[in-house]
C-alpha cells in the first residue's frame, strides 16, 4: 500500500511571495514549508498575525498558487475538480453574499458541490437546524451579526459532508455559546472521519478537537507534532481546578483536599510566549 494514501495533505517545499509595491523586492509569506497531515486527523495551525497561516490555507484550498513547491490534497492537486469537491474552505472574515438569504446561500454551495435539488434541500434543512438558524432562514445576510454570518459560513463549508476541512479562525469573534457550538460541530465532523486543518491563536478553540499542532512563524514551520509533545517541549501545563465552595480565596498553598484536578494540558500562555518568541527569532 502506498504510504501517501493515508495522507490527506502533503506539502513539500512550498514558498509564496507577495509584492506589495513594485519598487520593492517581493516579501516571503511562506518559505520552504513542508507539512503532512494524515487522513482523519485534526491539526491546529498556530501563529501570530502575518505568520502565513491564511496564505497557507489559501494555497491548500487552491485559491492561490505557490511560487515554489508542491501541494497534494486527497491525492491530487488542490485545483483538481475531485479534490475541490471533497475539500471545504472557510476563509477568515464573515462576508458571504450579502443579498442572499440563508437558504439561497446554502443552495448555491450545494449546487457548487454537485448536490441535486432534493439532496441540497435536505442538507440545508439539516445544517439550519444544527446551527440554530431556523428563525433567520429567509433573511438576507446583509442584516446579520458577525456571529450569525460565521454560523452561515461554517454551514456553507460543511454542506455535502466534505472529507477535508480548511478553517481559517472559524471561532474568532464568536460569543462563548457559539464558539462551543462550533467546536462541538467540528468534533462531530472529525468523528465522521473528516480531516481538519484549522488556523487559530487560541487553544480553547481547538480543545478536544486537534491533537496535532503546526506552528508558523515568519513564514517558516517552527514546530510540527502532537500538542502534548509541544507541551513537554515547553514544560508548561495548565489544569482545571475545581475547588469546594468557599475555598477559592487563598488557594495557593492551601489544603486541596476535596478539590478535583483536570488533565494537564499545554498552557495557553506558554503557547503565546512560544509564538511571540518564534516570531522575533529568539
Amino acid at each position: 500500500m502506498d504510504v501517501d494514501s493515508d495522507l490527506a495533505l502533503v506539502v513539500s517545499g512550498v514558498s509564496r511571495r507577495y509584492r506589495d509595491d513594485f519598487r520593492r523586492a517581493p516579501q516571503a509569506a511562506l518559505d520552504a514549508v513542508d507539512l503532512t497531515l494524515g487522513a482523519g486527523e485534526a491539526m491546529m495551525l498556530a501563529g501570530l498575525n502575518g505568520a502565513g497561516k491564511s496564505t497557507f490555507l489559501r494555497l491548500v484550498a487552491g485559491i492561490e498558487r505557490p511560487d515554489e513547491g508542491q501541494i497534494t490534497v486527497l491525492g491530487k492537486g488542490p485545483r483538481h475538480p475531485s479534490s475541490r469537491r471533497r475539500l471545504a474552505y472557510l476563509p477568515d472574515g464573515a462576508e458571504l453574499f450579502p443579498f442572499l438569504d440563508v437558504r439561497e446561500t446554502l443552495a448555491f454551495f450545494a449546487a457548487a458541490r454537485g448536490l441535486g435539488r432534493r439532496a441540497a434541500r435536505a442538507e440545508s434543512d439539516r445544517l439550519i437546524e444544527v446551527f440554530g438558524m431556523e428563525p433567520w432562514a429567509r433573511k438576507r445576510t446583509v442584516s446579520f451579526s458577525t456571529g450569525m454570518r460565521r454560523r452561515l459560513a461554517l454551514a456553507s463549508a460543511l454542506i455535502g459532508a466534505p472529507d477535508f476541512l480548511l478553517l481559517d479562525e472559524p471561532a474568532s469573534g464568536l460569543d462563548p455559546e457559539a464558539a462551543r457550538l462550533f467546536l462541538e460541530v467540528l468534533r462531530q465532523e472529525k468523528a465522521r472521519g473528516a480531516t481538519i486543518l484549522m488556523a487559530s491563536h487560541h487553544l480553547a478553540h481547538v480543545e478536544g478537537l486537534c491533537d496535532q499542532i503546526a506552528v508558523l512563524a515568519r513564514g517558516r514551520l517552527a514546530f510540527r507534532g502532537a500538542v502534548q509533545e509541544l507541551a513537554r517541549k515547553l514544560g508548561r501545563y495548565e489544569v482545571d481546578l475545581s475547588l469546594p465552595a468557599g475555598a477559592a480565596e487563598g488557594v495557593i498553598g492551601a489544603d486541596l483536599a476535596g478539590s478535583t484536578v483536570g488533565e494537564p494540558r499545554l498552557s495557553e500562555r506558554a503557547l503565546e510566549d512560544f509564538l511571540i518568541a518564534e516570531s522575533r527569532g529568539s
Binding site: 442572499l100 449546487a111 457548487a112 458541490r113 463549508a157
Partner: protein
Amino acid sequence: MIGDLRGAVALARVTMFELLRRGTLPLAFLGLTLYVGFLRLPVELDPTAARARFLDQAFSAGAAGLVLVAAVAGLQLAAGRARGGSGEDLARQAIGESAQHWGRALGLSAVLVLLGLGLGLTIMINVGLRFDDLVGVEAPIRHALSSEGFRNERETRFARPGASAEALVFDLGHGDPDQALEFRFSPRLLLVGRSAALRAGVPIALEIRALDGGYRRRRVLELHEGKPLRVALDLPRAQRGRLAITVENPGSGWLIGFTRGDATILAGADSLAAAILRAGLILGLYAAFFAMIAYFLRGRVGAVSALLLTLAFALLSSSFAQVEDGLFDRLPGAGREVAATLLGLLLPDFARHDVAAMLVRGVSPAWAQVGDAGLRLAIGSVLVGFLARVRKS
C-alpha cells in the same frame, strides 16, 4: 467539467440576485423609466411621426443609459472579484476559478438582458398610454427599428439613363410563414431640377428574382423624390432564400442612385409581444456586451480607464458603418470581406444584423437581429474573457 458548469450556472444565478437586489441597477432602471415617461414630444400635428420620434428617442436614450448602467455594473462586479472576501473565496474554492470567472459573466449578462426586456416593455406601455393605441404600436416599432429589415450594403448609381443597376441580393432565410414580406425602396433622384417631372413621378422598373427558385416578377413603379415606395412581395415561403432585385432606369432621362440602406426588405408586422421581446432583447444583449468589456477589463486597467474604454467601444460600434465605409473600401475584395466579417463579429453595430441570418437560415429577418446581437455578445465577450484569463494566468 459538468460539475464546473453546474457551479458556474449556480454562481450566475447568485450574481443575478446580487445585482438586482443591490439597488444600483433597479435605481438606474427607474431613472430610465422616468426619463421615458417624461419624454415630451409634440403630438398634436402628426401623431404618427411623433410616435415614431418618441420611439426613436426612447430607444436611443434607453440604449445609451443601459450601456452606462452595464459598464458600471461590470466594474462593480469586477471590483468585488478583485477585492475577494469570504463569498468570492468560498465560491472560487468550491467551483474553481474558471467557473467563477464565467459564472459571474453569465449572471451579469442575464441581468442586463432582463433589464433590456423591462425597458422595452416600459417603452411600449408608454407608447400605448401616450398615443392611446396599444395595437398600433407595431408600425412605429418597425419604423423606429428600421434596421429590422435587410438593407442594401453597397452604393449603386445609374451611370446613364437606360442602364440597369447592379442586382441587390438579400438573404431572407425562410422566415415565418405568417409574415408578409414587404420591400421598401427609396433611391435618390439625382440631377434634380425638373419639378414637373418630380411631381408626376419618375418611372423605374424593378425585376425581382428568387435565386433559389423560379420566382420572377417585373414591376414598373413611379418614384417621387423623398417618398419611399413600399411594395408587397407575393413571394412564396418556399422561395424566400436569396432574393435579387435589379433596378432599371427605363430611360426617363433622370439619373437615379441609392446609397446604403435605401433599399430594405421588411418583415411584416408581427405581434406586440414579439416586438417588445425583440427590442428589449437587443438592447439587453448589446448592454451585456459592454458590461462584459468593463468586467473583463477591470483588473487589467483601472476603473476609470475601463469605463472610458467601454464607452469608446460603444461609440465606435455605433458608428461602425462609417468606419467600415471608410476603412474597408480601400482593401482588395477578399481581404475586405474577411476584415469586415471579423470586425462585424467583434463590434456590435446597431444597424447591421446579417451575421445570424447568414449563419442560421430559416430565422425570420426580424428575429435575425436578436440572434445577431446574441452572437456578437457570445463571440465578443468570450474572446475578451479568454484574453483577460490568459493575461491573468
